[in-house]
């Protein structure tokens, strides 16, 4: 690759939009992460007792008409909100942007379960008469729905697709956008991840049957990654979307640059439907470091994936312990302890919530870590209180999912 090609292959984040259970903007999310505020609440779901969940309260009508909210999906609304916020954040005059050179790439864990459950519930009121099955079902449940709703909202005529990647999807959306920019397929990628999963009872019921659904009398204490008293996963909804651009384009227009994606990797365990594999996770981290031309010592913050399941926590922490054994000062944190597991949005929210660390110099904490599991061989976890670091230049973001899918992203403070 020539120097010019390498320069053109540098991809930067130039706009951010998000909704999470503790904030509908990056400043709000960051403030609540540093303040140790939980977003987990009790939540009514169908057929089963109330569960614990991370619930968003963004104003959908900020970027959609009421009819659009009604016609679309919750994931679509989340995506439209986040994408519009990200585009507004770029400072671009959107009407002057060539929309056929913009692509939308959104990671999802699943899509369609919410609408399918709703329709089955609805026709149940009519003796399962399928003639009252909604004509909206198909456009709501096609797998590209959330990304497609973004194109409708923003008038994007370039490519759009969702990336189905279980809970590795947030990173996968960014990676897809990065790759399309490098291929020259688009000049801007609207990329990230979204999730509406709390609106399907099935995800709660399935985790419950798997003995992996969190419970706690105090909702804010329910999500406890790395802690001996963990009880499992808290499911959350949310979304986080960035605008990604090639560095020369961003510099040419004087764009604000949040950071540069300098490393990425995805791989597969090929071992089990649900159980993670520390060896493949470690290989994924190592590949991302190699592509970034970095060593573990270059990383300042590791945003862990840990979901507060025993095996998941132990496998990931073992992988991290192997790689970062000679880096006692790396700050390892976890966002799920605050908001729960935002599924397809998790990796994206967790990465973006750490990005302001480049400016404020803080590593946010992992809350609810009262008794570190002795099987978690890590000494670098930022427990309960944020940690001030001397300097923060590099963040490594883990995101893993079922069927053994692993993704790692490395974002660096932008420097010439």
């Amino acid at each position: 690759m020539t120097n010019a090609e390498m320069y053109n292959s540098r991809i930067v984040i130039t706009g951010v939009g998000l909704t999470s259970p503790i904030g509908n903007s990056l400043p709000d999310l960051r403030a609540n992460l540093l303040a140790g505020k939980s977003g987990v609440t009790r939540f009514e779901t169908r057929y089963m007792p109330p569960v614990l969940a991370g619930v968003c309260n963004f104003d959908a009508l900020r970027h959609q008409k009421r009819k659009e909210v009604r016609r679309g999906t919750r994931a679509g609304s989340i995506a439209v909100y986040c994408a519009n916020e990200a585009v507004n954040d770029t400072g671009l005059e959107w009407e002057n942007v060539e929309k056929d050179r913009v692509g939308v790439y959104l990671g999802i864990t699943e899509h369609g379960n919410v609408e399918t459950e709703n329709e089955i519930f609805e026709i149940g009121k009519f003796g399962y008469d399928t003639s009252v099955w909604s004509h909206h079902h198909n456009p709501r449940t096609v797998a590209n729905n959330p990304a497609g709703e973004v194109t409708l909202s923003l008038g994007v005529t370039g490519p759009h697709l969702t990336v189905g990647a279980a809970c590795a999807a947030g990173n996968a959306g960014f990676i897809q956008g990065l790759q399309m920019l490098r291929l020259g397929e688009v000049d801007m990628a609207i990329a990230g991840g979204v999730s509406e999963s709390i609106h399907t009872f099935g995800i709660f019921a399935s985790f419950k049957s798997q003995n992996a659904l969190a419970h706690h009398d105090t909702p804010s204490k329910a999500c406890r990654p790395f802690d001996t008293d963990r009880t499992g996963i808290v499911v959350a909804e949310g979304g986080a979307i960035c605008t990604l651009e090639r560095l020369p384009d961003a510099l040419a227009r004087g764009a604000k640059i949040y950071g540069e994606i300098v490393g990425h990797a995805m791989n597969s365990d090929a071992t089990d439907f649900v159980l993670p594999d520390r060896n493949r996770q470690a290989q994924c981290v190592e590949l991302a470091l190699k592509r970034a031309g970095m060593t573990p010592q270059d990383i300042d913050i590791v945003s862990s994936h840990a979901t507060a399941t025993e095996q998941g926590d132990i496998e990931e922490s073992s992988a991290l312990a192997k790689i970062f054994k000679d880096h006692p000062n790396v700050a390892i944190n976890n966002t799920k302890s605050f908001i729960g597991h935002a599924m397809g949005a998790a990796g994206a929210i967790e990465l973006l919530g750490n990005i302001p660390a480049f400016d404020d110099g803080m590593a946010h904490a992992t809350i609810n870590l009262d008794h570190l599991d002795p099987n978690v061989p890590l000494t670098q976890i930022v427990a309960n209180e944020p940690r001030q670091l001397d300097s923060i230049d590099c963040i490594l973001n883990n995101s893993f999912g079922m069927l053994g899918i692993n993704s790692v992203l490395i974002v660096k403070r932008y420097q010439d």
Partner: protein
């Protein structure tokens, strides 16, 4: 149901499927589509809501009767004559 009651039923359905529209000055003699944003999927919502609420099956060849409020009420009146409001 009397025609005026049927008109209100249809108006309520329109309010649900087109919540951004001001229906206060709807002209009953003018096509719905000429005075509000209503596409084919919305139109099917009208058919579906009537089916769910009153078990009225409206065959596709009769959709032309649902163009205006006047024609819709006229079409539905015999179908809903035995339905209590």
């Amino acid at each position: 149901m009397a025609p005026e009651q049927i008109r209100q039923v249809v108006l309520d359905i329109l309010a649900r499927i087109a919540p951004d529209e001001d229906l206060s000055d709807l002209d009953d003699a003018v096509a719905f589509r000429d005075q509000m944003e209503l596409d084919s999927m919305d139109f099917l919502d009208i058919v579906m809501e009537l089916r769910k609420a009153y078990r009225v099956q409206i065959p596709e060849e009769d959709y032309e009767n649902l163009v205006t409020m006047d024609s819709t009420v006229a079409y539905l009146t015999p179908l809903l004559k035995d339905v209590n409001a």
